[in-house]
Amino acid sequence: MTFESELAEGRFRIPECASCKKTVWPPTPYCSRCLGPVRLSDGDHTGTIAEFSRKDGEYFCMVEFGDVRILAGIRDAPKVGQKVGICRCGISNGDYFFEVQ
């Protein structure tokens, strides 16, 4: 089970080092601090919008989940500091996609 195989099933799970517990982001097989093996953490992750903009009428935003940051789509006009969760994610044509609300 990897971040990618979980994401392909529509599940967003945060990778962390099994040895030193550091969040490992972007997802890689080994921890960048201690080179220990990486596992996936469970839980409902709540993120915070750090910044946003809009292209062709669709908003996109930088969302922080602790040490993890992603660029995600969001349907309604966002605000900096707004709390959000992942409502849709996956892999499409080889690219990750994330949507928050």
Binding site: P26, F52, S53, R54, K55, R69, L71, G73, S92
Partner: protein, 368 residues
Amino acid sequence: MTRVGIAACGIIPFTRDDQSIESVLLESVVDLFEGSDADRGSVDAVLVSTNSNSKYLAPILSETAGLGPNIAHTVENLCNSGTNAMVSGYSYIASGLADVVLVSGAERYDSPGQVLEWDRSRGGFKHPIFWASILARSYKRRFSISEEQLAMVPVKNHRHARDNPNAMSKKACTIQDVIESKRVTDDIRLLECSRPCTGSASVLLASEDAAKRLSKEPVWIAGIGQKTASAGFTKSESFSSLESTRIAADVALRMAGHAPKDIDVAEVHDAFSVCEPMALESMGLCGPGGGAGMVRDMYDTENRMINPRGGLIGSGHPLGATGIAQAVEITQQLRADAGSRQVGGARTGLVHNMSAAGTSSTVLVLER
């Protein structure tokens, strides 16, 4: 350790032409040797800077240009490939592995280096316009900067580009033109973007003895600073300043024994309008939040100190050639050979070249 100088330069007009990367590369090398007394037989290393997927370009360039180097290979590091190749050339000379190094950068308008496929934390928002929009929004928010203030960057740089015969842009624009140009995102207008293009630039680096033999007016690489903060945009420490640029500039200026106030002329990596004030502030050329005001002052006083050739926005952005084209401009400025673009009395110049939203930066300090 020997000093390393720029003994000769070559550059061609930046276009949207559909031309093979091999022929684009060769053109700036031909320009370099036609415009200097340098002897092709003296070149003992050839470094090619590009993001092209074409292979074995340095040996191909060597064969087609009639060079017989010992060392020949490609350097790739996205948009700052050019200055990375120059730093590699410097290192070959400083270590004694080579005495004269040809560094040539080239790119086609459809370069694969425009998008970093690896950075999947950007989700479906991989194109540079998305990171640029986040930076622009964050910078405007933090320092209460208006879009009209940021629009001064393309207004200034397109004006400078009119005096650069190799620039893609030949047309001046007003703040109104920028604001009324296509809204690519809520935070970036079309005229605020540098454009990918086809182009090439070359420099001949040489040890102190060789530089004095090959050129009447060598320009010396007095300072080098590089910092790789991360590869992924989402790992950046700040979205309203450029940490890798701050560190690279500090290291380069210290190596050269200079302070920011000593810089007479600089080429700054304005991939998008917001990058210029952020870079000026991060390098200490003005205070935090003062970059947009500095750009306005330079425009009002017709001061060409920053991006005299028009920067990336005015000149075009052939990724692998950009850092070398910046160094060519600063070399011409320091030789008082920049024609109508000349910044009077320039003795110390700076090149700022960065990649992937400023996740890595190179700064060179040049002196005559």
